[in-house]
């Protein structure tokens, strides 16, 4: 296949283990510190962090990383790196964890960054959506795909962008971290709908027009496109469930408050 030389397995293929272990250790130390001083940290967040790092490891390590010349394997890596791992990591509330364990001056600095002008612009819903969806459309439907497979630095840049855009999107839509502004329930569901539809349409366009052209035979591209379509559905379902779980908990708290007030008044 032109432009899609298989990457040989070498000891360097396992290099991503190092940053993943550093992040995992950091999260673990943070949670331990909270628990030791008697604070509560929902176990579901720690489970999300672990699952997100496992998804990231599966995408960045062999065999997925070294067999990405097979288009379907590439698509599995894409689903893990740009969609599933970002959602799980957003649900693990990493910024909240950092804010809870650092000293007051550092906390002020972190919050200043989050609430800075750049932070407000970057979490603006239309921009988040454009970064998330635009990156994928550009990568799969334009010559960017073959260019990225010719120049390693571009390959890295594109994938870092897709991971970060996915994380930003998941954090704004379903994350538990403090943000300068956050869409309401209808806005969040609208974003999930738009992104889900855009992902599905992208998979069908790839299937219909045999894109990316250099990715392999039409049969290989079509199989990859169908995996992308179905995998995108699963992540959309998970994202919607995350949004609604938070809503259900909020509603429950409001109902308990109302019931308590009613008891006091009675």
């Amino acid at each position: 296949m032109p432009g899609m030389a298989p990457l040989g397995v070498s000891p360097w293929s396992w290099l991503p283990v190092v940053p993943l272990l550093v992040v995992a250790a950091g999260y673990l130390i943070g949670v331990r510190r909270l628990v030791r001083r008697g604070d509560r940290w929902p176990p579901a967040r720690s489970v999300s962090a672990a699952a997100g790092l496992v998804a990231l490891a599966a995408a960045l390590l062999p065999p997925v990383s070294t067999h990405a010349d097979v288009f379907t394997v590439h698509v599995v890596g894409h689903l893990l790196l740009a969609m599933l791992a970002p959602l799980l990591l957003a649900l693990s509330a990493p910024i909240t964890l950092v804010l809870r364990i650092v000293s007051v001056p550092v906390r002020r600095q972190v919050l200043a960054v989050v609430h800075s002008r750049a932070g407000r612009v970057l979490t603006w819903a239309p921009l988040v959506l454009a970064l998330e969806v635009g990156g994928m459309y550009a990568f799969y439907l334009t010559p960017l795909f073959s260019l990225a497979h010719e120049h390693e630095w571009l390959y890295v840049v594109v994938h870092v962008h897709m991971f970060l855009a996915g994380w930003l999107f998941s954090t704004v839509v379903a994350g538990r971290d403090p943000l300068p502004h956050r869409p309401g329930l209808v806005g969040a569901l609208g974003l999930v709908l738009f992104a889900g539809a855009a992902h599905g349409v992208l998979a069908k366009l790839m299937y219909a027009h045999d894109l990316p052209a250099v990715a392999g035979s039409p049969a290989q591209v079509q199989l990859g496109a169908q995996v992308m379509f179905s995998g995108g559905d699963l992540v959309e379902l998970a994202t919607a469930a995350a949004v609604m779980t938070a809503w259900y908990a909020r509603e429950g708290r409001a109902q308990r408050r109302a019931a308590a007030r009613a008891q006091v008044l009675a």
């Binding site: 855009a198 219909a208 779980t245 909020r250 109302a258």
Partner: protein, 164 residues
């Protein structure tokens, strides 16, 4: 949308037929989309992922409805769970909304997406007329029964016997 305001009427067990209808509509749309995807696409293989004649408008319409179907089933289930928790579900209205949502989706899919946009057909290599008629008439019947269920007593489950 469904937030309980502080200081609101403490009786949270009033019937909320509108919310029951809304949850039903979402569940109905979700079930129609789910059946379309699993039964007709994956199990029977009657529907095709892409049949070569689809316009780009058709792809976009299909994409929005496909994504919307998954979203509807998730939101509908959580909304329904919230009604159950408040014990304000009106089962008759949930069924009304469900049949209207399912039937309307079925007719939209059958008439607009299959015929006007030419997205794909119900089945290939057969005389389509009986299939189209069964598809659209079952949907139309669902809407009519659903509208019928909009009338009649709206009794929430909290008023059932034996429930404190």
């Amino acid at each position: 949308m469904a937030s309980t305001e502080v200081g609101a009427e403490p009786d949270t067990r009033r019937a909320m037929p509108g919310r029951s209808i809304g949850a039903g509509v979402l569940l109905g749309i979700g079930v129609a989309a789910f059946l379309d995807e699993t039964v007709f696409h994956q199990l029977l293989h009657w529907h095709h992922f892409y049949d070569g004649s689809t316009s780009d408008v058709g792809l976009v319409s299909d994409g929005v409805f496909h994504a919307g179907g998954w979203l509807a089933i998730v939101v509908g289930l959580f909304w329904f769970a919230d009604l159950q928790r408040r014990r304000t579900t009106v089962p008759r209205r949930v069924w009304a909304g469900g049949l209207i949502g399912w039937g309307a989706f079925q007719v939209y899919d059958g008439l607009f997406q299959h015929k006007v946009l030419g997205l794909h057909q119900i089945r290939y290599g057969v005389d389509l007329l009986p299939y189209d008629l069964a598809w659209d008439l079952s949907g139309g019947l669902g809407v009519l029964i659903g509208i019928g269920l909009l009338f009649g007593p709206a009794r929430p489950i909290a008023e059932r016997r034996g429930i404190p």
